[in-house]
């Protein structure tokens, strides 16, 4: 579905995307991960033929992105990172407007646009002007417009960016539904759990270069082989001095605080869980659970992109 060879884009001497080789197969939900400024959006803009590459080639849906760009655009659906709409138009008329480009007959344009907005939960709002829409509603319109031409490949640039948990959940459900319909999805994101839940394959990009392309399991195995594991602790009363003490333990590679608990990244040679438990309990914390997990995508991501940025 997507095949790139040495795809490169320079902007005034700055290399935004550097000789990328990527393959996305039909039916994949491909997660495209990378820190901010890594070249995700530039890559997407090349794949969607909005930008032409400085060098290298790519074929999307079996068509060359340069010589057959119109054919490519005909078969893809794009949801850009920050979509903007004509504020004085209603969602329904915007969708009908975009449908015109694909030669869809008039009656069908209206029917299809209304159907898609209905599915997006915008049925009651489709005739209201976009300027009255919330951020979440706009995202839904953006997804609906990407589906207006029944694309073979759906390209989503940060689809859940700026959405609250319920909104994100709805989007993930939607994307799963599309996968079940046989649509290939190329999804860029820096929300790692999302990619982990949705995607069967991931590509990681950093400084314009692909650092890894594989299934999540294969990537995880690579990490385990490098000797990392996560110890996830939930509880109350965990204080900074306790974490400092844990950090001084031999084999602790990182501490990641979350809302729900704290993740300790540890060298798998050491059995650090009891030691961490001891420090926390003696410090006065109430430890509720200690969970030893396999490496998450976040670990993979951080180990491959370096810790400099968490995206």
């Amino acid at each position: 579905m997507i095949e790139t060879r040495g795809l490169t884009k320079n902007f005034n001497g700055f290399c935004a995307v550097d000789r990328i080789d990527l393959t996305v197969k039909k039916g994949d939900i491909f997660g495209f991960l990378g820190p901010n400024g890594a070249g995700k959006t530039t890559t997407i803009r090349m794949l969607t033929t909005i930008l032409s590459p400085t060098s290298g080639t790519a074929s999307v849906c079996g068509h060359d992105i340069i010589s057959e760009s119109i054919e490519v655009r005909r078969l893809i659906g794009l949801m850009p990172e920050s979509p903007g709409f004509y504020e004085n138009m209603s969602a329904l008329s915007i969708l009908q407007f975009y449908a015109e480009f694909y030669g869809i007959p008039k009656n069908e344009r209206k029917k299809k646009s209304a159907e898609l907005l209905e599915i997006m939960g915008l049925g009651d709002f489709m005739k209201k002007k976009i300027k009255t829409y919330s951020h979440g509603m706009r995202k839904r319109v953006a997804l609906a417009q990407a589906l207006i031409n029944d694309p073979e490949l759906l390209i989503l640039d940060e689809p859940t960016g700026g959405l609250d948990p319920q909104g994100s959940y709805s989007f993930r459900q939607m994307i799963r539904g599309l996968r079940d319909r046989g649509m290939t999805v190329f999804l860029s994101s820096h929300i790692l759990p999302e990619v982990q839940q949705l995607c069967n394959r991931v590509g990681i990009i950093n400084h314009g270069r692909i650092v890894a392309v594989d299934t999540i399991e294969n990537l995880a195995n690579r990490i385990v082989a490098r000797g990392k594991r996560n110890i996830f602790v939930t509880g109350e009363g965990i204080t900074a001095p306790m974490l400092d003490e844990v950090a001084r333990l031999q084999g602790i590679m990182g501490i990641q605080p979350y809302e729900t608990g704290i993740n300790f990244v540890a060298d798998s040679q050491f059995d650090l869980a009891p030691e961490i438990n001891r420090i926390l309990v003696t410090g006065g914390a109430r430890v509720r659970s200690i969970y030893l997990s396999e490496p998450t995508l976040e670990d993979i991501f951080l180990s491959l992109t370096g810790d400099e940025e968490r995206g």
């Binding site: 803009r45 655009r73 939960g121 539904g177």
Partner: protein, 520 residues
Amino acid sequence: MVEEDITEEITRSGISEPIKEIPGQEDVMQPKRYPIKSYLGPLSIAKREFTANMKSVRMVVLMLLFVLAVLGGAYGISGLSTSTTSLPEVEVLAWAVLEDDDGMGYPDDLLVLITDGSGTPRPNVKVEYVDYEEDEDDVFFEGNSNSNGAVVVNNITYAMLGTYSIRVTYEGEEIDRARTSYALELSPKPAYVLAHVLDLDDDNVEDDVLVMVTDGDGIPIADVEVSLSASNYHNNGTTDAKGTVTFRNLMAGEGDPFMGFSPKKYDVEITHSGSISTNTLYIYQDDESMTSLFEFEGPDEIIYFVASVFIMMLGPIIAISLSFDSITKEKLQRSMDFLLSRPMGRRGIIVGKFLGILSAIALPVTAINLLAVVVISSVTNKSPTGSLVAGFLVYTVVFIAIYILLQQIFSTLAKTTGTAILSGIAIWLIFNMFWSLISIAAGAAMGYQLGSDAWIKMNNQIGLMNPSGSYQLALAYLLPVEGEVSILGVPGWLPPVVMAVWLVVMFLLATEIFVRKADS
């Protein structure tokens, strides 16, 4: 916590239902694909651009301004011109002689001759002899002019006192009494001389004289020498077959154009078969035409004036105001990617936008221009030249199209809408205001005198190089009379060609710059 999120989402977005799950495999529809024609994209963009512009507040404001300037200008100037220009055509003139044919000691024998403005007899016009001061209805005589245009009555019965006059009724309406020229002769003569002051050369001033020589039966006499003289004037002429001779552009008396001239007395005299006949007339200068600052010959000049003043100023403003953000806004509101990812060529986007904006402007502008032409011709009561009207309508659209493309280039290059509109206004200022400074400076450098033929020639050639100048010159060439517009140094075919070149070059530049810019 999840519950809270849902509630929050609902309140924030106003959506009562979450995204529905896509139906499963059993509901999968086969994607339908339709053939994509290259005009589809540009056409959709043009339609959207047209609708959006038509509904915009900007459009309403701009068109109100345009109506005010163009229709108001057209109406005002036409009104101005009727007060000074179109003197009504003279259809009926009466020439009257009272003489004492029967030697009774009273000039009670009447000869009335009815002609049109050129001295040709008019038969069948009703002539009455009435006492205007006592009772207009007291008609002493009534008759119709014969095939020679003459009415002859002997021994009109006089009342004891009163002022008697001739009343001439033509097509049911009484003609102006000033249109009757009298001669009072106490004894019959073989020939009578009569004179009317008219505007014979259509210069809007009644300073020409039509003299007629006729015998006592109203039969014109040809080959009579007529002398016209005043204090410092003398001229002779010979009557033609109609018995008429004309003298043109006679001077009025002393005075100045703003205060009015005093009337000047002229004496007409003939000698025929040994007898002398005389008459007197006065020339008044029509002071209204002199005090008017703007003089317009007719509807063509008014159309030209409206175009070269109001449209030349407002046309680019309308074009700039409706297209300055056509590209920047798409970029800034981030809707451009939606367009760029549609199955159409890059050029299609700018072409569609151009056509959409152009049609949104051209439609109302052409309607208003047409209305202006109607107003001008109905107020001046003259029809303008067809080719000028066609040129006015077409060139105006081309002129506006050039500015739309120019502004689209700025809109593509500029990072903000502010820069885009400022660049447009700068270009407008340069082309419409500062351009003449270039001519003046160049003229000074070349040593030409301002207003001299050499300078006008150069000024026209420099003016031709900007769209506004070529628009003005193209219209000037369609004026049937050269009038006051000097078109030295520029052949007639050139201005429309220059406009076409501007249009094509701007179109190619706008599309090319857009295609290149979209890639960076």
